[in-house]
Amino acid sequence: MGWIGEQIDSIKSLQFRQVLTQAISLGMIVTSALIIWKGLMCVTGSESPVVVVLSGSMEPGFKRGDILFLHMSKDPIRAGEIVVFNLDEREIPIVHRVIKVHERQDTEEVDILTKGDNNLGDDRLLYAQGQLWLQRRHIMGRAVGFLPYVGWVTIIMTEKPIIKYILIGALGLLVITSKE
């Protein structure tokens, strides 16, 4: 029977206490991941503290699959910063650089124009019809840190769901069959 038989035996021989311990340890993993994520949200003040670069519009600085750490503070937005913004009718946020800023005298209002480093023109073509500027409310955060390649894991998982299911299945089996 070999390995498969051994695994089946180990599933058959499961005790109630053992199952409970494993369920709890699995729960601990999931909840600690959630705690880290929510904690990062609190610290960075950004709705999504980590984003994966999906397009090549910021190459060669950021390539597809790189990870950016975001920070959202009350500091005013200035030209040259790399911001992540969400347009009203688009689902996927965009990571581009600010090239023009017009900040009002008394109010907090600000007009922002962005451009991808690797694009020829500015982003007015991406904005909604007739929209000339981004406002503060569009900005989700500014990029402060960078980690290469790590984002490929999520890109592969979203584009090839089968791999995701295989991975989850294998991990689940491992948790069930492993003995401390």
Binding site: P60, R78, G80, R97, H102, E103, R104, Q105, F146, L147
Partner: protein
């Protein structure tokens, strides 16, 4: 079989930890670099200065610039993004920043340069406030690391003024 899996797991965890530690150290080592970049800009000619049909002032100019940003590069630097922005205040806006020109410096050798060019992006005001307007030309740079924290700073150059009349 279990021991093989456990060993693989331990090895993976260990190598990922070491890799993360090395990334953090590479990023931290950037803090020991205290750069001293230099830049000079000359506005050569304001060859167009007019009010657009919607009432906003528009300027086209040629300038030359020499800069040495080589000291920004460390072993953890992937590239330096550099841009020149016109900055001024108007009655309506506390701050206007308009990028006129930008470039990517991929290596230390490219970071010492002299360039003469026209503005790459349009220099358009929000309104008509540019006649006789004093403005700064600020050279900004954004150091993009191979991994870790990004750095940005600038050199502001003052004493530029737009002409009194349209041309």
């Amino acid at each position: 079989m279990h021991s093989v899996m456990l060993r693989a797991n331990a090895l993976l965890t260990f190598s990922v930890t070491i890799l993360a530690l090395m990334c953090a150290m590479a990023s931290l080592s950037d803090n020991f670099n205290s750069p001293s970049p230099t830049a000079q800009v000359q506005v050569l000619n304001i060859y167009r200065f007019q009010k657009k049909r919607n009432g906003d002032d528009e300027v086209s100019l040629t300038f030359n610039m020499s800069a040495n940003l080589q000291s920004l590069f460390t072993w953890n630097t992937k590239q330096v993004f550099v841009f020149l922005a016109a900055e001024y205040e108007t009655p309506k806006n506390a701050l206007n920043q308009i990028s006129l020109w930008d470039s990517i410096l991929p290596s230390k050798e490219d970071a010492k340069f002299w360039i003469q060019t026209t503005n790459k992006y349009s220099f358009v005001d929000q309104g008509s406030n540019l006649q006789n307007k004093d403005f700064n030309l600020t050279l900004h740079w954004h150091v993009m690391p191979k991994t870790g924290k990004m750095f940005a700073d600038k050199i502001a150059m003052t004493g530029f003024r737009l002409p009194e009349t349209y041309r």
